[in-house]
Amino acid sequence: MYLTKEEEKMLDGEYGLAIQKAIQILVAIGDIFEAEYLINIESAQISGVSYYNIGDAGLEFLEEFSNLNAKVVVKSTLNPCGMDLDRWREMGIDQEYYEKQMRIIKAFEKMGVEITCTCTPYFVGNIPRSGSHIAWSESSAVVFANSVLNAKTNREGGPSALASAIIGKTPYYGLHKDENRLPNFLVKIETNLKTNLDFSLLGYTIGRLIPSSIPYIYGLKNYDVDKLKALSAALATSGNISMFHFKGKIKDKLEKLTIDKKELEISREMLSMNGEPDLICIGCPHCSYNEILYLAKAVKKKKLKKNYGLWIWTSKGVFLRAYKHVKILENAGCKVFKDTCMVVYPIKLSGYKHMASNSCKAVNYVASISGLKASLIELSDVFSKFFE
Protein backbone atom coordinates (compact mmCIF):
# COMPACT_ATOMS: atom_id res chain seq x y z
CA MET A 1 0.00 0.00 0.00
CA TYR A 2 1.21 3.49 -0.82
CA LEU A 3 1.87 5.70 2.21
CA THR A 4 2.61 9.42 2.26
CA LYS A 5 5.78 10.66 3.96
CA GLU A 6 3.68 11.75 6.90
CA GLU A 7 2.08 8.31 7.19
CA GLU A 8 5.50 6.68 6.99
CA LYS A 9 6.59 8.81 9.93
CA MET A 10 3.53 7.72 11.89
CA LEU A 11 4.38 4.10 11.13
CA ASP A 12 7.98 4.63 12.23
CA GLY A 13 6.76 5.85 15.59
CA GLU A 14 7.77 9.49 15.25
CA TYR A 15 4.41 10.61 16.64
CA GLY A 16 4.35 8.18 19.53
CA LEU A 17 3.13 4.71 20.26
CA ALA A 18 -0.63 5.34 20.07
CA ILE A 19 -0.47 6.74 16.54
CA GLN A 20 1.98 4.03 15.52
CA LYS A 21 -0.35 1.25 16.73
CA ALA A 22 -3.37 2.89 15.09
CA ILE A 23 -1.72 3.24 11.69
CA GLN A 24 -0.27 -0.30 11.94
CA ILE A 25 -3.86 -1.51 12.24
CA LEU A 26 -4.97 0.50 9.20
CA VAL A 27 -1.99 -0.65 7.13
CA ALA A 28 -2.62 -4.30 8.04
CA ILE A 29 -6.27 -4.02 7.00
CA GLY A 30 -5.20 -2.22 3.85
CA ASP A 31 -2.75 -5.03 3.07
CA ILE A 32 -5.36 -7.72 3.70
CA PHE A 33 -7.88 -6.11 1.36
CA GLU A 34 -5.27 -4.85 -1.11
CA ALA A 35 -6.15 -1.18 -0.67
CA GLU A 36 -4.01 1.22 -2.69
CA TYR A 37 -3.77 3.95 -0.07
CA LEU A 38 -5.49 5.61 2.90
CA ILE A 39 -8.24 8.22 2.45
CA ASN A 40 -9.47 10.90 4.83
CA ILE A 41 -12.64 10.26 6.78
CA GLU A 42 -15.12 12.74 8.22
CA SER A 43 -16.43 10.74 11.13
CA ALA A 44 -16.20 7.52 13.07
CA GLN A 45 -18.75 5.45 14.98
CA ILE A 46 -17.06 3.14 17.46
CA SER A 47 -18.54 -0.13 18.74
CA GLY A 48 -17.22 -2.51 21.39
CA VAL A 49 -18.23 -0.42 24.42
CA SER A 50 -20.29 -2.72 26.62
CA TYR A 51 -18.38 -4.34 29.47
CA TYR A 52 -20.76 -7.31 29.05
CA ASN A 53 -19.42 -7.80 25.50
CA ILE A 54 -15.73 -6.82 25.63
CA GLY A 55 -15.01 -7.91 29.20
CA ASP A 56 -11.75 -7.38 31.04
CA ALA A 57 -9.80 -7.98 27.81
CA GLY A 58 -11.35 -4.98 26.07
CA LEU A 59 -11.27 -2.85 29.20
CA GLU A 60 -7.55 -3.43 29.70
CA PHE A 61 -6.71 -2.65 26.10
CA LEU A 62 -8.81 0.53 25.91
CA GLU A 63 -7.54 1.83 29.21
CA GLU A 64 -3.90 1.23 28.35
CA PHE A 65 -4.35 2.59 24.85
CA SER A 66 -5.96 5.78 26.18
CA ASN A 67 -3.04 6.14 28.59
CA LEU A 68 -0.71 6.38 25.59
CA ASN A 69 -2.46 9.69 24.94
CA ALA A 70 -4.33 8.49 21.89
CA LYS A 71 -6.69 11.23 20.63
CA VAL A 72 -9.32 11.11 17.91
CA VAL A 73 -8.96 13.70 15.15
CA VAL A 74 -12.43 13.46 13.55
CA LYS A 75 -15.95 13.55 14.93
CA SER A 76 -16.27 10.28 16.81
CA THR A 77 -19.36 8.86 18.45
CA LEU A 78 -19.87 5.80 20.61
CA ASN A 79 -22.05 2.70 20.44
CA PRO A 80 -24.30 1.69 23.35
CA CYS A 81 -22.57 0.50 26.52
CA GLY A 82 -23.71 -2.22 28.91
CA MET A 83 -25.99 -0.21 31.20
CA ASP A 84 -27.99 3.02 31.57
CA LEU A 85 -25.31 5.39 32.84
CA ASP A 86 -27.73 6.84 35.43
CA ARG A 87 -30.29 4.12 36.18
CA TRP A 88 -27.96 1.10 36.27
CA ARG A 89 -29.05 -0.03 39.74
CA GLU A 90 -32.63 -0.42 38.53
CA MET A 91 -31.34 -2.78 35.85
CA GLY A 92 -29.76 -5.15 38.39
CA ILE A 93 -26.19 -4.06 37.63
CA ASP A 94 -23.77 -4.52 40.56
CA GLN A 95 -21.08 -2.13 41.76
CA GLU A 96 -18.14 -4.01 40.21
CA TYR A 97 -19.75 -4.15 36.76
CA TYR A 98 -20.67 -0.46 37.07
CA GLU A 99 -17.12 0.53 37.91
CA LYS A 100 -15.63 -1.47 35.05
CA GLN A 101 -18.14 -0.06 32.58
CA MET A 102 -17.29 3.45 33.77
CA ARG A 103 -13.57 2.79 33.23
CA ILE A 104 -14.35 1.90 29.61
CA ILE A 105 -16.43 5.08 29.20
CA LYS A 106 -13.66 7.17 30.77
CA ALA A 107 -11.07 5.66 28.42
CA PHE A 108 -13.14 6.65 25.38
CA GLU A 109 -13.80 10.07 26.87
CA LYS A 110 -10.08 10.59 27.40
CA MET A 111 -9.47 9.80 23.74
CA GLY A 112 -11.96 12.50 22.74
CA VAL A 113 -14.85 10.27 21.72
CA GLU A 114 -18.32 11.73 22.35
CA ILE A 115 -20.14 9.59 24.90
CA THR A 116 -23.29 9.31 22.77
CA CYS A 117 -23.79 5.61 23.59
CA THR A 118 -26.17 4.93 20.74
CA CYS A 119 -26.40 2.78 17.63
CA THR A 120 -28.21 5.67 15.92
CA PRO A 121 -25.50 8.36 15.73
CA TYR A 122 -27.49 10.03 12.93
CA PHE A 123 -30.16 10.99 15.51
CA VAL A 124 -27.66 12.71 17.80
CA GLY A 125 -25.64 14.88 15.46
CA ASN A 126 -23.26 12.52 13.65
CA ILE A 127 -24.80 13.06 10.22
CA PRO A 128 -22.18 12.56 7.50
CA ARG A 129 -22.48 14.54 4.28
CA SER A 130 -23.70 12.73 1.20
CA GLY A 131 -20.71 11.23 -0.59
CA SER A 132 -18.36 11.57 2.36
CA HIS A 133 -16.05 8.80 3.54
CA ILE A 134 -16.55 7.60 7.11
CA ALA A 135 -15.38 4.67 9.25
CA TRP A 136 -18.33 3.27 11.14
CA SER A 137 -18.75 0.10 13.09
CA GLU A 138 -22.21 -0.98 14.34
CA SER A 139 -23.65 -2.92 11.44
CA SER A 140 -27.13 -1.31 11.44
CA ALA A 141 -25.64 2.18 11.28
CA VAL A 142 -23.26 1.06 8.52
CA VAL A 143 -26.18 -0.04 6.32
CA PHE A 144 -28.16 3.11 7.16
CA ALA A 145 -25.20 5.40 6.41
CA ASN A 146 -24.39 3.74 3.07
CA SER A 147 -27.97 3.36 1.89
CA VAL A 148 -29.98 6.24 3.34
CA LEU A 149 -27.37 8.94 4.03
CA ASN A 150 -25.25 8.03 0.98
CA ALA A 151 -22.02 8.22 2.99
CA LYS A 152 -19.36 5.59 2.31
CA THR A 153 -18.15 3.09 4.86
CA ASN A 154 -17.08 -0.51 5.12
CA ARG A 155 -18.40 -2.61 7.97
CA GLU A 156 -15.71 -1.80 10.51
CA GLY A 157 -15.08 -3.51 13.84
CA GLY A 158 -14.65 -1.52 17.05
CA PRO A 159 -10.82 -1.48 17.05
CA SER A 160 -10.52 -0.56 13.36
CA ALA A 161 -13.06 2.28 13.71
CA LEU A 162 -11.07 3.55 16.71
CA ALA A 163 -7.79 3.35 14.77
CA SER A 164 -9.42 5.30 11.91
CA ALA A 165 -10.70 7.94 14.33
CA ILE A 166 -7.17 8.43 15.71
CA ILE A 167 -5.49 8.70 12.30
CA GLY A 168 -8.47 10.36 10.55
CA LYS A 169 -8.12 7.92 7.67
CA THR A 170 -9.22 4.53 6.46
CA PRO A 171 -7.90 2.14 3.78
CA TYR A 172 -9.44 2.87 0.38
CA TYR A 173 -11.19 -0.38 -0.63
CA GLY A 174 -14.61 -2.00 -0.63
CA LEU A 175 -17.59 0.33 -0.31
CA HIS A 176 -15.39 3.45 -0.40
CA LYS A 177 -14.99 2.83 -4.13
CA ASP A 178 -17.99 3.77 -6.28
CA GLU A 179 -17.62 0.74 -8.53
CA ASN A 180 -18.17 -1.54 -5.54
CA ARG A 181 -21.39 0.20 -4.49
CA LEU A 182 -23.53 -0.90 -7.42
CA PRO A 183 -26.47 -3.23 -6.78
CA ASN A 184 -26.00 -6.87 -7.76
CA PHE A 185 -29.47 -8.25 -6.99
CA LEU A 186 -32.97 -7.05 -7.80
CA VAL A 187 -35.42 -7.72 -4.99
CA LYS A 188 -39.10 -7.51 -5.89
CA ILE A 189 -41.61 -7.27 -3.09
CA GLU A 190 -44.95 -8.95 -3.64
CA THR A 191 -46.57 -8.19 -0.34
CA ASN A 192 -47.76 -5.12 1.54
CA LEU A 193 -45.38 -3.73 4.11
CA LYS A 194 -46.99 -1.58 6.78
CA THR A 195 -45.31 -1.69 10.15
CA ASN A 196 -41.73 -1.38 11.35
CA LEU A 197 -41.82 -5.12 12.00
CA ASP A 198 -42.76 -5.74 8.35
CA PHE A 199 -39.69 -3.79 7.25
CA SER A 200 -37.55 -5.63 9.77
CA LEU A 201 -38.83 -8.97 8.46
CA LEU A 202 -38.10 -7.87 4.90
CA GLY A 203 -34.50 -7.09 5.86
CA TYR A 204 -34.07 -10.34 7.74
CA THR A 205 -35.48 -12.29 4.79
CA ILE A 206 -33.22 -10.61 2.22
CA GLY A 207 -30.18 -11.20 4.45
CA ARG A 208 -31.19 -14.83 4.87
CA LEU A 209 -31.64 -15.49 1.14
CA ILE A 210 -28.83 -13.39 -0.37
CA PRO A 211 -26.43 -12.77 2.54
CA SER A 212 -23.50 -11.28 0.60
CA SER A 213 -25.36 -8.99 -1.79
CA ILE A 214 -25.99 -5.32 -2.44
CA PRO A 215 -29.72 -5.56 -3.13
CA TYR A 216 -31.78 -3.07 -5.10
CA ILE A 217 -35.16 -3.22 -3.39
CA TYR A 218 -37.66 -2.45 -6.08
CA GLY A 219 -40.98 -0.79 -5.36
CA LEU A 220 -40.35 -0.01 -1.70
CA LYS A 221 -43.32 2.06 -0.48
CA ASN A 222 -44.62 3.58 2.75
CA TYR A 223 -41.16 3.99 4.15
CA ASP A 224 -39.92 6.58 6.62
CA VAL A 225 -36.67 7.00 8.54
CA ASP A 226 -37.74 4.59 11.27
CA LYS A 227 -38.72 1.87 8.82
CA LEU A 228 -35.46 2.25 6.91
CA LYS A 229 -33.63 2.02 10.24
CA ALA A 230 -35.47 -1.25 11.01
CA LEU A 231 -34.72 -2.59 7.54
CA SER A 232 -31.02 -1.66 7.83
CA ALA A 233 -30.58 -3.44 11.15
CA ALA A 234 -32.23 -6.64 9.96
CA LEU A 235 -30.26 -6.81 6.69
CA ALA A 236 -27.03 -6.85 8.69
CA THR A 237 -28.34 -9.42 11.19
CA SER A 238 -29.06 -12.40 8.95
CA GLY A 239 -26.56 -11.40 6.28
CA ASN A 240 -23.28 -9.62 5.70
CA ILE A 241 -25.11 -6.88 3.84
CA SER A 242 -23.59 -3.41 4.26
CA MET A 243 -25.68 -1.52 1.72
CA PHE A 244 -28.94 -1.57 -0.24
CA HIS A 245 -30.56 0.61 -2.88
CA PHE A 246 -34.20 1.64 -2.98
CA LYS A 247 -34.29 4.72 -5.19
CA GLY A 248 -33.23 5.69 -8.69
CA LYS A 249 -32.98 3.63 -11.84
CA ILE A 250 -30.80 0.61 -12.50
CA LYS A 251 -28.97 0.12 -15.74
CA ASP A 252 -27.69 -3.43 -15.51
CA LYS A 253 -29.72 -6.57 -15.79
CA LEU A 254 -29.62 -8.13 -12.35
CA GLU A 255 -30.39 -11.50 -10.90
CA LYS A 256 -33.91 -11.40 -9.42
CA LEU A 257 -35.36 -12.42 -6.10
CA THR A 258 -39.06 -12.16 -5.32
CA ILE A 259 -40.16 -11.87 -1.74
CA ASP A 260 -43.78 -12.63 -0.90
CA LYS A 261 -45.73 -13.01 2.32
CA LYS A 262 -44.72 -16.66 2.59
CA GLU A 263 -41.02 -15.83 2.72
CA LEU A 264 -41.65 -13.25 5.46
CA GLU A 265 -43.63 -15.87 7.41
CA ILE A 266 -40.69 -18.29 7.20
CA SER A 267 -38.49 -15.62 8.82
CA ARG A 268 -41.14 -14.92 11.46
CA GLU A 269 -41.28 -18.65 12.23
CA MET A 270 -37.47 -18.81 12.58
CA LEU A 271 -37.61 -16.02 15.15
CA SER A 272 -40.40 -17.50 17.28
CA MET A 273 -40.25 -19.45 20.50
CA ASN A 274 -42.97 -21.16 22.48
CA GLY A 275 -44.47 -19.53 25.52
CA GLU A 276 -45.78 -16.16 26.60
CA PRO A 277 -43.44 -13.18 26.67
CA ASP A 278 -43.23 -11.21 29.92
CA LEU A 279 -40.89 -8.45 28.75
CA ILE A 280 -41.49 -6.28 25.70
CA CYS A 281 -38.46 -4.42 24.34
CA ILE A 282 -38.77 -1.62 21.80
CA GLY A 283 -35.84 0.30 20.40
CA CYS A 284 -33.51 -1.85 18.32
CA PRO A 285 -32.01 0.21 16.79
CA HIS A 286 -32.53 2.93 19.43
CA CYS A 287 -35.90 4.72 19.26
CA SER A 288 -36.13 7.99 17.37
CA TYR A 289 -37.96 11.01 18.74
CA ASN A 290 -40.95 10.12 16.55
CA GLU A 291 -41.07 6.58 17.85
CA ILE A 292 -41.07 7.77 21.48
CA LEU A 293 -43.84 10.21 20.58
CA TYR A 294 -45.86 7.46 18.91
CA LEU A 295 -45.45 5.09 21.85
CA ALA A 296 -46.39 7.81 24.35
CA LYS A 297 -49.57 8.61 22.43
CA ALA A 298 -50.52 4.94 22.29
CA VAL A 299 -50.20 4.26 26.03
CA LYS A 300 -51.47 7.58 27.37
CA LYS A 301 -54.10 7.01 30.06
CA LYS A 302 -53.41 3.26 29.98
CA LYS A 303 -51.56 1.10 32.46
CA LEU A 304 -49.19 -1.78 31.81
CA LYS A 305 -50.56 -5.01 33.30
CA LYS A 306 -48.91 -6.36 36.45
CA ASN A 307 -45.97 -8.76 36.10
CA TYR A 308 -45.10 -7.51 32.65
CA GLY A 309 -42.31 -5.19 31.61
CA LEU A 310 -42.16 -2.82 28.68
CA TRP A 311 -38.65 -1.49 28.29
CA ILE A 312 -37.91 1.16 25.70
CA TRP A 313 -34.34 1.83 24.57
CA THR A 314 -33.02 5.08 23.19
CA SER A 315 -30.11 7.50 23.14
CA LYS A 316 -29.53 10.14 25.76
CA GLY A 317 -29.96 12.78 23.05
CA VAL A 318 -33.44 11.60 22.10
CA PHE A 319 -34.32 10.88 25.75
CA LEU A 320 -33.69 14.51 26.69
CA ARG A 321 -35.55 15.93 23.73
CA ALA A 322 -38.54 13.67 24.27
CA TYR A 323 -38.53 14.00 28.06
CA LYS A 324 -42.19 15.06 28.25
CA HIS A 325 -43.21 11.90 26.39
CA VAL A 326 -40.78 9.77 28.38
CA LYS A 327 -42.71 10.83 31.50
CA ILE A 328 -46.00 9.71 29.93
CA LEU A 329 -44.45 6.33 29.13
CA GLU A 330 -43.07 5.94 32.64
CA ASN A 331 -46.47 6.86 34.15
CA ALA A 332 -48.04 4.09 32.10
CA GLY A 333 -45.64 1.60 33.70
CA CYS A 334 -43.00 1.46 30.95
CA LYS A 335 -39.30 2.04 31.55
CA VAL A 336 -37.28 4.18 29.18
CA PHE A 337 -33.59 3.35 29.34
CA LYS A 338 -30.82 5.15 27.48
CA ASP A 339 -27.14 4.49 26.68
CA THR A 340 -27.69 0.73 26.32
CA CYS A 341 -30.04 -1.86 24.82
CA MET A 342 -31.46 -5.37 25.16
CA VAL A 343 -28.56 -6.84 23.18
CA VAL A 344 -25.51 -5.30 24.89
CA TYR A 345 -26.89 -5.24 28.44
CA PRO A 346 -26.96 -8.60 30.29
CA ILE A 347 -30.74 -8.79 30.04
CA LYS A 348 -30.88 -11.88 32.25
CA LEU A 349 -30.44 -9.42 35.12
CA SER A 350 -33.89 -8.00 34.32
CA GLY A 351 -35.40 -11.09 35.96
CA TYR A 352 -37.75 -11.69 33.04
CA LYS A 353 -37.83 -14.96 31.15
CA HIS A 354 -39.11 -14.26 27.65
CA MET A 355 -38.51 -11.11 25.64
CA ALA A 356 -40.60 -10.00 22.69
CA SER A 357 -39.66 -7.21 20.29
CA ASN A 358 -40.69 -5.75 16.95
CA SER A 359 -37.05 -5.96 15.85
CA CYS A 360 -35.63 -9.07 14.17
CA LYS A 361 -32.14 -8.00 15.22
CA ALA A 362 -33.11 -7.84 18.90
CA VAL A 363 -34.89 -11.21 18.81
CA ASN A 364 -32.06 -12.88 16.90
CA TYR A 365 -29.35 -11.81 19.36
CA VAL A 366 -31.32 -12.07 22.62
CA ALA A 367 -32.30 -15.62 21.66
CA SER A 368 -28.72 -16.59 20.88
CA ILE A 369 -26.71 -14.90 23.63
CA SER A 370 -28.78 -13.86 26.64
CA GLY A 371 -30.36 -16.99 28.08
CA LEU A 372 -33.84 -15.48 27.67
CA LYS A 373 -36.41 -16.78 25.22
CA ALA A 374 -37.22 -14.32 22.46
CA SER A 375 -40.06 -13.80 19.98
CA LEU A 376 -41.38 -11.21 17.58
CA ILE A 377 -44.38 -9.06 18.38
CA GLU A 378 -46.36 -6.33 16.58
CA LEU A 379 -46.76 -3.05 18.44
CA SER A 380 -50.55 -3.19 18.01
CA ASP A 381 -50.55 -6.51 19.92
CA VAL A 382 -48.43 -4.94 22.65
CA PHE A 383 -50.99 -2.20 23.22
CA SER A 384 -54.01 -4.53 23.12
CA LYS A 385 -52.63 -7.44 25.17
CA PHE A 386 -50.36 -5.90 27.75
CA PHE A 387 -52.25 -2.76 28.76
CA GLU A 388 -55.46 -2.17 30.62
Binding site: K21, I29, I32, G48, N53, G55, A57, P159
Partner: protein, 161 residues
Protein backbone atom coordinates in the same frame (compact mmCIF):
# COMPACT_ATOMS: atom_id res chain seq x y z
CA UNK B 1 15.84 -30.50 7.30
CA UNK B 2 14.92 -26.90 6.77
CA UNK B 3 12.41 -25.21 4.47
CA UNK B 4 11.85 -21.54 3.81
CA UNK B 5 8.38 -20.40 2.81
CA UNK B 6 7.60 -16.93 1.54
CA UNK B 7 4.35 -15.24 2.45
CA UNK B 8 2.93 -11.89 3.50
CA UNK B 9 3.85 -10.23 6.78
CA UNK B 10 0.72 -8.72 8.33
CA UNK B 11 1.86 -8.13 11.91
CA UNK B 12 5.49 -7.15 11.70
CA UNK B 13 7.20 -8.93 14.58
CA UNK B 14 9.34 -12.05 14.91
CA UNK B 15 8.68 -15.17 16.96
CA UNK B 16 9.38 -18.88 17.04
CA UNK B 17 8.13 -22.09 18.51
CA UNK B 18 6.64 -25.49 17.84
CA UNK B 19 3.78 -25.61 15.38
CA UNK B 20 0.26 -26.42 16.46
CA UNK B 21 -1.98 -26.88 13.44
CA UNK B 22 -5.76 -26.69 13.09
CA UNK B 23 -7.93 -27.20 10.03
CA UNK B 24 -10.76 -25.04 11.42
CA UNK B 25 -11.40 -21.27 11.37
CA UNK B 26 -10.88 -19.94 14.87
CA UNK B 27 -12.51 -17.41 17.17
CA UNK B 28 -10.31 -16.30 20.07
CA UNK B 29 -13.47 -14.99 21.76
CA UNK B 30 -14.99 -18.11 23.30
CA UNK B 31 -12.29 -20.25 21.67
CA UNK B 32 -9.46 -19.93 24.17
CA UNK B 33 -9.21 -19.23 27.88
CA UNK B 34 -7.22 -15.98 28.17
CA UNK B 35 -5.97 -17.01 31.62
CA UNK B 36 -4.42 -20.31 30.53
CA UNK B 37 -4.04 -20.24 26.74
CA UNK B 38 -5.92 -23.52 26.49
CA UNK B 39 -8.50 -24.07 23.75
CA UNK B 40 -11.96 -24.28 25.30
CA UNK B 41 -14.17 -24.48 22.21
CA UNK B 42 -15.55 -28.03 22.44
CA UNK B 43 -16.20 -28.17 18.71
CA UNK B 44 -12.61 -27.35 17.87
CA UNK B 45 -10.14 -29.98 16.69
CA UNK B 46 -7.57 -28.72 19.24
CA UNK B 47 -9.97 -28.72 22.21
CA UNK B 48 -8.01 -28.99 25.47
CA UNK B 49 -4.63 -28.18 23.87
CA UNK B 50 -2.42 -25.25 24.85
CA UNK B 51 -1.27 -22.65 22.33
CA UNK B 52 1.11 -20.98 24.79
CA UNK B 53 4.52 -20.29 23.22
CA UNK B 54 3.56 -22.13 20.05
CA UNK B 55 3.16 -21.07 16.46
CA UNK B 56 -0.59 -21.37 15.99
CA UNK B 57 -1.61 -22.26 12.44
CA UNK B 58 -5.25 -22.15 11.28
CA UNK B 59 -7.05 -21.14 8.07
CA UNK B 60 -8.54 -17.82 9.19
CA UNK B 61 -10.23 -15.98 12.04
CA UNK B 62 -13.94 -15.84 12.62
CA UNK B 63 -16.50 -14.55 15.13
CA UNK B 64 -16.71 -11.42 17.27
CA UNK B 65 -14.24 -8.55 17.01
CA UNK B 66 -13.74 -8.98 20.77
CA UNK B 67 -11.36 -11.73 19.64
CA UNK B 68 -8.74 -9.02 19.01
CA UNK B 69 -8.85 -8.04 22.68
CA UNK B 70 -8.57 -11.67 23.79
CA UNK B 71 -5.28 -11.97 21.88
CA UNK B 72 -4.10 -8.83 23.71
CA UNK B 73 -5.16 -10.33 27.04
CA UNK B 74 -3.31 -13.59 26.31
CA UNK B 75 -0.16 -11.53 25.75
CA UNK B 76 -0.62 -9.61 28.99
CA UNK B 77 -1.07 -12.90 30.85
CA UNK B 78 2.00 -14.31 29.05
CA UNK B 79 -0.15 -17.13 27.67
CA UNK B 80 0.05 -16.06 24.04
CA UNK B 81 1.14 -18.01 21.01
CA UNK B 82 4.62 -16.96 19.86
CA UNK B 83 3.33 -16.40 16.32
CA UNK B 84 0.29 -17.01 14.15
CA UNK B 85 0.13 -18.25 10.57
CA UNK B 86 -3.16 -18.01 8.66
CA UNK B 87 -3.97 -19.19 5.17
CA UNK B 88 -5.69 -15.85 4.71
CA UNK B 89 -5.83 -13.18 7.40
CA UNK B 90 -8.87 -11.11 8.32
CA UNK B 91 -9.04 -8.01 10.53
CA UNK B 92 -9.93 -9.64 13.87
CA UNK B 93 -6.77 -11.73 14.06
CA UNK B 94 -4.65 -9.06 12.37
CA UNK B 95 -5.65 -6.33 14.83
CA UNK B 96 -5.25 -8.67 17.79
CA UNK B 97 -1.72 -9.58 16.67
CA UNK B 98 -0.75 -5.94 16.11
CA UNK B 99 -1.93 -4.69 19.50
CA UNK B 100 -0.38 -7.72 21.22
CA UNK B 101 2.84 -7.50 19.15
CA UNK B 102 2.63 -11.09 17.96
CA UNK B 103 3.91 -11.89 14.46
CA UNK B 104 1.29 -12.81 11.86
CA UNK B 105 2.08 -14.14 8.40
CA UNK B 106 -0.41 -15.29 5.78
CA UNK B 107 -0.62 -16.38 2.13
CA UNK B 108 2.39 -18.70 2.28
CA UNK B 109 3.46 -20.18 -1.04
CA UNK B 110 2.48 -23.61 0.29
CA UNK B 111 -0.64 -24.57 2.23
CA UNK B 112 0.59 -24.33 5.85
CA UNK B 113 -2.15 -26.64 7.12
CA UNK B 114 -1.28 -29.63 4.99
CA UNK B 115 2.49 -29.02 4.88
CA UNK B 116 3.35 -28.08 8.44
CA UNK B 117 2.97 -30.73 11.14
CA UNK B 118 2.42 -30.42 14.88
CA UNK B 119 5.81 -30.24 16.52
CA UNK B 120 7.70 -28.80 13.52
CA UNK B 121 9.89 -25.97 14.73
CA UNK B 122 9.07 -22.63 13.07
CA UNK B 123 10.62 -19.22 12.98
CA UNK B 124 8.08 -16.67 11.86
CA UNK B 125 9.40 -13.38 10.50
CA UNK B 126 6.44 -11.04 10.17
CA UNK B 127 8.66 -8.18 9.02
CA UNK B 128 9.75 -9.92 5.83
CA UNK B 129 6.83 -12.36 5.59
CA UNK B 130 9.05 -15.43 5.82
CA UNK B 131 8.56 -18.70 7.70
CA UNK B 132 11.47 -21.06 8.35
CA UNK B 133 10.47 -24.60 9.14
CA UNK B 134 12.81 -27.06 10.85
CA UNK B 135 11.50 -30.60 10.64
CA UNK B 136 11.84 -32.57 13.81
CA UNK B 137 13.67 -35.83 13.22
CA UNK B 138 15.69 -38.15 15.39
CA UNK B 139 18.91 -36.31 14.87
CA UNK B 140 17.42 -33.00 15.96
CA UNK B 141 14.72 -34.21 18.28
CA UNK B 142 16.37 -33.34 21.55
CA UNK B 143 18.62 -30.57 20.39
CA UNK B 144 17.89 -27.90 22.94
CA UNK B 145 20.24 -25.37 21.43
CA UNK B 146 18.32 -25.11 18.18
CA UNK B 147 16.18 -22.21 19.30
CA UNK B 148 18.93 -19.75 20.19
CA UNK B 149 21.12 -20.99 17.38
CA UNK B 150 18.38 -20.24 14.89
CA UNK B 151 17.67 -16.91 16.44
CA UNK B 152 21.19 -15.76 15.82
CA UNK B 153 20.68 -16.47 12.15
CA UNK B 154 17.95 -13.93 11.83
CA UNK B 155 19.13 -10.47 10.92
CA UNK B 156 16.70 -8.60 13.06
CA UNK B 157 16.52 -10.28 16.44
CA UNK B 158 14.03 -7.88 17.96
CA UNK B 159 11.02 -9.71 19.26
CA UNK B 160 12.76 -13.05 19.11
CA UNK B 161 11.65 -15.03 22.12
Amino acid sequence: MEFIYKGRGISKFIGEGEAIVSKKPFSFFGGVDPKTGIIIDKNHDLYGESIVGKVFIFPKGKGSTVGSYIIYQLKKNKKHPSAIINKESEPIIAIGCIIAEIPLVDKLEVDPISNIKNGDYLIVDGINGIVRRIIKNEAMGNDKRSSSWLCSHIENRKGCY
